[in-house]
Assembly symmetry: C3
Amino acid sequence: MRQAHHQLTVFSSQGRSLYEFTRELRDWVSSTDIQVGMLTVFIQHTSASLLIQENADPTVRADLERFLARLVPDGDPIFQHRQEGPDDMSAHVRTALTQIYLVIPVVGGAPVLGTWQGVFLYEHRYEPQRRKVLLHLIGE
Amino acid sequence: MRQAHHQLTVFSSQGRSLYEFTRELRDWVSSTDIQVGMLTVFIQHTSASLLIQENADPTVRADLERFLARLVPDGDPIFQHRQEGPDDMSAHVRTALTQIYLVIPVVGGAPVLGTWQGVFLYEHRYEPQRRKVLLHLIGE
Amino acid sequence: MRQAHHQLTVFSSQGRSLYEFTRELRDWVSSTDIQVGMLTVFIQHTSASLLIQENADPTVRADLERFLARLVPDGDPIFQHRQEGPDDMSAHVRTALTQIYLVIPVVGGAPVLGTWQGVFLYEHRYEPQRRKVLLHLIGE
């Protein structure tokens, strides 16, 4: 049984949006030569999420963003934490309602994603950020 | 240290609803003969979730469904992705707000679920589906 | 490769609120002497959550609580499951919308938490409870 870990940086170049990094994930898993195991993806931030979602039709991501923007209004008057602007606290709430880590079994040297599943970083801040994502794989 | 993995199919025979598969999970863990370890449950879809919830009183599931139906309206006019009907995009949003994988420690040859915790597949589409769930266990 | 597991009890002395236990988590990981691995934190209840959130500014937690209290009203008339009071079903819904387990890679003998990330138990019931949290670590 072996382990491998790696730090990935995802740059959210357009600010608030979803950024797919399925290929980077597959490439790294492949590079470890581990055939069967468990992959963890962990983001070291509290205002961006990780999400596995439909990656075929881009309207899914646009619709999800519209839904979250309505559910968690930026600059909501109930928020006191607004030092960094109207997207500060809403980004924390969006993160709490989604996930900051993913766990995906690995079989045959690849994450067992379904046909339509892509792995995304969901940037919740308006401004582009460099987000640190840690990958860990245990298996053999 | 050893690993085992297995694919389970959960048939959502009544369409949108919660389907418990705690027993199938326990039986498979038991069959691996691994006493201590970590169990991952992963669903290879983007319109159904996995959920650990109260399994004693069925009104909990009915109430949760009523809550989600109000929070994420089917056929919401803000949704553009509606090729497969009014439950298409709402199913993706419900999935994003819940989980598509579970991680449960195993001790004494069984998942360490609390007294009232059951493991459910949450089907978000109206029509019955055959859902693929991958189980992975590492331990000894 | 080795494993360790441990049961922690978190007492939610003020009832509904967030309780940080990052230090207890770090101390236990350190005591196992495992340098690289994967840590799972699992709560054996369905009316309290686990959450990784900003731990610098306490208004973040207050704002998150105000948001959830508005999103999931206690005693909502759509809820039938209310045996234990108006916070009974809302606690289950809040738990479904957040997480009951966390997975955090361990590198250099410590969980790889970002600078502002703290680990919290989120008690959703009004009354103080003794909550059982299981820790599991695999690595070497």
